[in-house]
Symmetry: C2
Subunit: 464 residues, 2 copies
């Protein structure tokens, strides 16, 4: 090698090294002093992001979950795992096989895996100064962006007419149910409005109406008792749950007449649980995030209303009861609905429908082996959202104990280590129980396992 | 240079270059594929963080704020600026000097700058799957971590005894006020409980009690009317607001007797607004986040209760009314209280007290020039939190129009381009108005400006 060649070689090396060092310095600058990969993620969100990611990384063995606001034991830094029922231990890895499975309650955790899959698009950062005021920019307590997204959602799914209708928000549909009863009963009627519902019905209608002990309304039991009865000056308020809780039927109002008003509880009128034969178009319709996205904890619901006076009365109820709905819940609902609306809603509703459909098929297969139990029948129906005839996929199994001796169906299931909800809570008698199908996959798997045991113990039945 | 030296030099260069390239690759890996500076901030929080930082970076000229859930105009990507009153334009840079200033309402925005200063410690990331269930790990609807922090806060401030007491949550103190009235009135009394409050009082007590039209209670006006009256079998429920809204006085219950129960509304019993002479120890005490941290939009309050039956009834109310309080609000309240508790609470309460004290002094200085208006007097008092005697710093000015001809004090202020709250809303007559001092700095500055004009127009007065 000549000296010149060597010197050139060294030069080239020095140049390379210099560029490499410059690149290094640039990268180190970006890494330490800059803001990671994205200059917009600068400072103030970092601590919150780190905390949330750390909690999300706690595994809980796939049978539980840790939360940002979970209990922190004295000697630990991180929140504890909260285990699914029948699982325990610090990391939820212990399985208690003799344990009684929980098929009670309407916790919609079957949708949790969907939100884990959509982690990036569904997360929100709430700044310390976010919406401290009682009011939004328009001096109301309701987010107009959220209202707009709710209308878009109904248009997309085709499950409700919102054109020329008012929308009011509630802390879950629970608050709206009583606000609607309050709005529909007159202050100056000669006697309290009669509030009724068709058996089997969601027990909160009665519990709430009784508990608040208004001068203006009173719960009066089963709708059918009042079918041929009408009294001038006395309002009738009929709760219609459609699809019905517990039996999944697309109920319609039974009572007719000038003094009759219906409150349609449309909590389950989503493609997860039912065919959507046509957009609902009733005067008072109540929806909830709980059974749509599965966020029961957010306490967010809305009512779609035809009549301005009803709307105004329900808004006043919300103001004097809670000064509107938590702005954090509204912010979160908006974000979740944006995810639902992506791609025409196919993602969420296909996930929801396929999950519920599969569960229903597996459950049917077991119950069909049994002579002791029967399930409600729901006919296949054309769905305008999926644009095809679809089979049933209800939120709950409404089980009838068929045998003469099984007078207390709840006890039959309890003996099989299954906690159900008693039929008489729905005013339907003790031969019925409700089993929830919308809980976690763990709960459902365990339910099927115990149910299979119960059925296989029957004489003449075949287990699977 | 010998060949060997050259070759060594080249070798050293190659080695340097190689290490530099390795470092390059490592840094590029960290930058692109890794997680920025912190391995825990990996993927799913990034989009939410970027969105929140982008919205926070919208300046709105310091006279407004953009929010994550703000309106988005058709042709824009980002939410609009929501301007403080009397400011306008796309970026809130226009000032409308002839505009009427808003001194109505109790929006606690004076604390907003504190949370902007504490951005990093007060932000939260809410994952898509956060607390979807109706229940926390212990099957209740209330966060035990939050309860624990509330007890710590009262211990630290010294404003309430929580030992051997129950704590229940509400969607703001608003929900708890009616839940308490409901709990304290018997179901089987011979006549409805009489609900009373001492003039001047917060109008919601009456509005709420009237609106819900319960069989069990009825609003019956001013406490003093019932002072020497007692009737066997009829419950009396006395609202005691302490410090009082509107006048800031540390009120005590007026009524005595076996059938009398008091609900202490302790919304303003924090060092921002009053000396804390001793820990409050009443049977029913209601607190709210709104006037503590300024987060009125979060709708979070709590009651500290001595009696188990009252606690259980209020929990049942919350369940049948709203199935507890939004889990997002509880998560956020927990985070905010953690910030408040840092360093013994000095940060927040010194900020709050100094801000309110300064406003009160400036206001007093102007009103003292006036013969037309007078303000309430609040005596200096020893504060166990600040460990010294401190002067008044109330949330509201309770203004009396002294002149014979100023019969409608509200109109006097309106003519001076100030919107106040009418005295008769507090059942105190039209010679009084309430001016809010807890709104934004913009609102307060403008209020003083208009007030100064009003006072300077008086005969014989001196403007400042």
């Amino acid at each position: 090698m000549s000296k010149i060649e060597n010197s050139r070689k060294i030069h080239r090396h020095v140049l390379c090294l210099a560029s490499s060092i410059v690149l290094n310095l640039f990268l180190i600058y970006k890494w330490y002093l800059g803001a990671g990969w994205d200059p917009a993620v600068s400072n103030w969100t970092r601590k919150a992001a780190t905390e949330a990611e750390a909690v999300a990384a706690i595994s809980c063995s796939g049978h539980g979950r840790a939360f940002l606001d979970g209990l922190i034991l004295d000697d630990k830094q991180q929140p504890i795992c909260e285990c699914n029922s029948c699982y325990g231990g610090l990391d939820c890895s212990q399985f208690f096989s003799a344990c009684t499975v929980n098929a009670d309650g309407g916790d919609p955790l079957f949708l949790e895996p969907f939100w884990v899959q959509h982690a990036a698009s569904s997360a929100i950062v709430v700044a310390g100064w976010h919406r401290m005021s009682y009011y939004y920019g328009d001096q109301s307590t309701t987010s107009k962006e959220l209202q707009r997204h709710i209308r878009k959602l109904h248009d997309m799914v085709g499950n409700a007419v919102t054109q020329e209708k008012y929308i009011t928000f509630g802390a879950g549909s629970t608050q709206l149910l009583n606000a609607a009863v309050h709005a529909l009963s007159s202050d100056n009627a000669s006697s309290p409005a009669r509030v009724v519902a068709s058996i089997p019905f969601y027990p909160v209608y009665e519990e709430q109406t009784d508990f608040f002990r208004s001068v203006d309304f009173r719960f009066q039991g089963d709708t059918s008792l009042w079918k041929n009865y009408s009294e001038a000056g006395t309002d009738m308020i009929e709760f219609v749950t459609s699809p019905n809780n517990p039996d999944g039927q697309l109920n319609k109002a039974v009572l007719q007449g000038q003094n009759v008003k219906a409150i349609y509880d449309r909590a389950y009128y989503w493609p997860h649980f039912t065919a959507i034969p046509a957009p609902a178009d009733e005067d008072v319709m109540i929806f909830t995030l709980s059974k749509l996205t599965g966020h029961a904890g957010s306490r967010f619901g809305w009512a779609v209303l035809k009549d301005k006076a009803t709307y105004e009365s329900m808004e006043r109820y919300s103001e004097l009861n809670t000064i509107g709905v938590s702005r954090e819940s509204q912010l979160r609902a908006l974000k979740l609905l944006k995810v639902v609306l992506q791609g025409g809603g196919k993602d969420l509703f296909e996930f929801g429908h396929q999950t519920m459909r599969k569960l229903w098929e597996r459950l049917n297969k077991i119950i069909s082996m049994s002579k002791r139990f029967s399930l409600q029948k729901i006919a296949p129906q054309y769905c305008i959202f999926f644009k095809k005839v679809r089979e049933a996929s209800p939120a709950y199994a409404w089980v009838n104990c068929e045998k003469e001796e099984d007078k207390d169906c709840y006890e039959v299931f309890q003996a099989g280590n299954i906690t159900s909800r008693k039929g008489h809570r729905f005013f339907a008698g003790d031969r019925y129980v409700r089993l929830s199908l919308i809980r976690s996959q763990d709960d459902f798997d365990l339910l099927l396992h115990k149910l299979n045991q119960l059925v296989s113990e029957e004489e003449g039945s075949e287990s699977i």
